[in-house]
Symmetry: C2
Subunit: 301 residues, 2 copies
Amino acid sequence: MDKIFLHEVGMRDGLQVEQQIVPTEKKIEWIKELMQTGVDIIQIGSFVHPVKVPTMADTDELFRYFSKPENKKSDTVLSGLVLNEKGLDRGMDAGVEMFCMGVSASETHSKKNTGMTTDEALDRIIPMAKNALSAGKQVQVSVQSAFGCGFEGAIAKERVIYIVEKYLQNGILNISLADTAGHANPIQVEDMITSIYSINPEAKLSCHFHDTYGMGIANCFMAYKHGVKYFESAFAGLGGCPFTAKASGNVCTEDLVNMFNKFGLRKDIDLKKILEIAKEAEEFFARELPSKVLKVGILEH
Amino acid sequence: MDKIFLHEVGMRDGLQVEQQIVPTEKKIEWIKELMQTGVDIIQIGSFVHPVKVPTMADTDELFRYFSKPENKKSDTVLSGLVLNEKGLDRGMDAGVEMFCMGVSASETHSKKNTGMTTDEALDRIIPMAKNALSAGKQVQVSVQSAFGCGFEGAIAKERVIYIVEKYLQNGILNISLADTAGHANPIQVEDMITSIYSINPEAKLSCHFHDTYGMGIANCFMAYKHGVKYFESAFAGLGGCPFTAKASGNVCTEDLVNMFNKFGLRKDIDLKKILEIAKEAEEFFARELPSKVLKVGILEH
């Protein structure tokens, strides 16, 4: 069986939506612990406006800290999300190893989020991605709202494929399909992944699912079954907003690793260590988080 | 697409493990509401010793109540679990429409639960099932611990197939594969279902999964994908024991129905009504239950 790769996004997609700001020292502690688990990539922040998103205000500082060799002993790749050229510049300065950036397949979502149409956003994101690649950085581009949109509802598969092809035509192979609204279902995932691979077998697809309707793990499984090798998930299942009705977070890293372990995959990852960090997150936020394996423990048989 | 069928087991597998006994009047209310949702079969109790399992002590009374035509307006099938001949007799007297009974694929589980080996248990269960069939009753037989055992760990697929074949040889076609310990993973489910159907395409398989490790919906999906048409689930995701570490319950009915709805299946089922009952259960037990759709609501797009 082929190796799969884990991109831990809890520090960004998880902490970003929390009301309670995690102090920089605590973030550094969690990132160091996450690096010890053996996950492949850790997304540690987003280069957004610090006043608009105070939970991400220390992103530059975190990257600067981990740019010092004495602070980063592992070969884990540290990724950061950038939304525009200014964010890219900040990320370059701060020492980002992998840049993540994307456009939305939903025109409404794109316009509300960026003021641009999907095509206008592509015209800005693709040069940014190329610049980062030219600078020797790893780059992952994404298709947001790839499986549905909170504003528009269903999103045509062709729109997702259109964006994927634009990326590939520009030599950007690392492409993440993000289920931003959490609408994906496993038949849709199967259809999307097989369609993309039949058109473009060279894409290095990543999947980013939320467990909003309880199908997160099923969606990951179907993506895996059809050849996806990169998965984005959050320790403890962070990413749900405790103050809105939409309470479900990212697919939970430990539940995902536990499933892959059952398939004989990624047994090198320290699942116990991930559970310890998840437990710390529950204690920090003083509420139960959606992780299943955290509740019942690892099955040792 | 073929129709799938839902067997709601929350009133039995869910309430059975709760410390707080649901009064008979409340059970009647919930069962009546569940009948209005359009689920196909409702398991309303277990014919166990009333002192040993006080939560199920009113099982005879419930069946007697619903045997009266004025109390049951729908054609929902009411099922009851029986463990032995005495339970079967009680169930016959009380008016059970579908008898559920089974043996464990794990010798250790079988001996601990019944004092019998799997073969000894089969020698008792098969005549019971035939008697119930002869009496014009619907019968569903099960293979417990079909995907793993809390005592033994892994269970060989051949043991499950051996029991399935015994049932089929005796003309009992309705067979439920029960993941009693919650160990199943979707690759294992795929392998089990395709193996059974390749040997015995005439089996009417049902799947009963718990969401212990977050793979419940993924397991249901793979079972569905390989031809399983009957699914057992519990409203609100009941079935987890709040007083032990093993907190996860049955696959949640509303999450399962919501997924099937996305495939265009069972849109006749009143999902809103199921959510109302799930909400009542949360209020009754005064704790958050694992249902996802209950948290975020139905996606109306």
